[in-house]
């Protein structure tokens, strides 16, 4: 399992290759990459800054991955989240899950993202033409995380 909070960019192909290197038991890799959009809530976004809680962030991500391992057949996983200043088109977050079968890989990947969005201590501040603004948490993200309770 790999969890990283970093300012540097990441490469999906490199991370996938690292997960599968030297093993033949992986039948499925599911990945998600989140990027910075150039617009949000009706305003243009020139750039954004990702703040986090050093120490708690890494623990929180590791716990979320552990929860996913407890629910699905996860052989390995990688979670990378960038912090610092980012601009539209930049990568923000990467989740890759390796499993024997696609069902576990898809579900665990979505679960990790849904819980990351609502549990991991990151905050986005957007620079718009009207100035800087902290992004409000979305109710839809809470709903997305809640849906896993009944499964």
């Amino acid at each position: 399992m790999k969890v990283s909070v970093q300012t540097e960019d990441f490469d999906l192909d490199v991370e996938c290759a690292a997960l599968t290197h030297g093993r033949k038991d992986i039948g499925a890799l599911a990945s998600f990459v989140g990027l910075v959009r150039d617009a949000n809530d009706g305003a243009g976004i020139a750039r954004m800054t990702l703040e986090h809680y050093p120490g708690m962030t890494e623990k929180s991500l590791a716990e979320i991955v552990e929860q996913a391992r407890g629910r699905w057949d996860v052989l390995d996983a990688t979670v990378i989240h960038r912090v610092g200043e980012l601009k539209p088109g930049d990568n923000i977050v990467l989740v890759v899950v390796a499993s024997a079968h696609r069902g576990d890989a898809f579900a665990a990947c979505e679960f990790i993202m849904d819980f990351l969005k609502t549990r991991a201590p990151f905050w986005k501040k957007e620079e718009t033409p009207e100035g800087g603004r902290w992004v409000d948490a979305r109710e839809s993200d809470d709903v997305a995380a809640e849906k896993w309770k009944g499964r």
């Binding site: 809680y53 120490g55 708690m56 969005k117 201590p121 948490a137 993200d141």
Partner: protein
């Protein structure tokens, strides 16, 4: 001593990211600490006004009734918006 941390919009509203505070007598829970800090008035009212304020004690999410002990790290922050 308590180590208290503030993040994101709350950090900006308060104009500081952290402070050390001797655990005042009779302050047994996060909720009592929160009320004590908010009672400083002025910018500190942001602690009471932040919608859905989140709290972590020793880097684990906690509720207002969570107990406090000397040496704890307590963080206050708005709902998270990563990903």
């Amino acid at each position: 001593m308590l180590k208290i941390l503030y993040f994101a919009g709350l950090r900006e509203a308060l104009g500081q990211s952290s402070e050390q505070l001797a655990l005042p007598g009779g302050m047994g829970t996060v909720g009592q600490l929160h009320a004590h800090l908010a009672a400083r008035g002025g910018a500190w009212e942001a602690l009471a006004k932040t919608k859905n304020l989140r709290i972590a004690v020793n880097q684990q999410m906690a509720a207002m009734d969570a107990p406090l002990n000397d040496g704890d790290e307590v963080a206050f922050f708005p709902p998270v918006t990563g990903g």
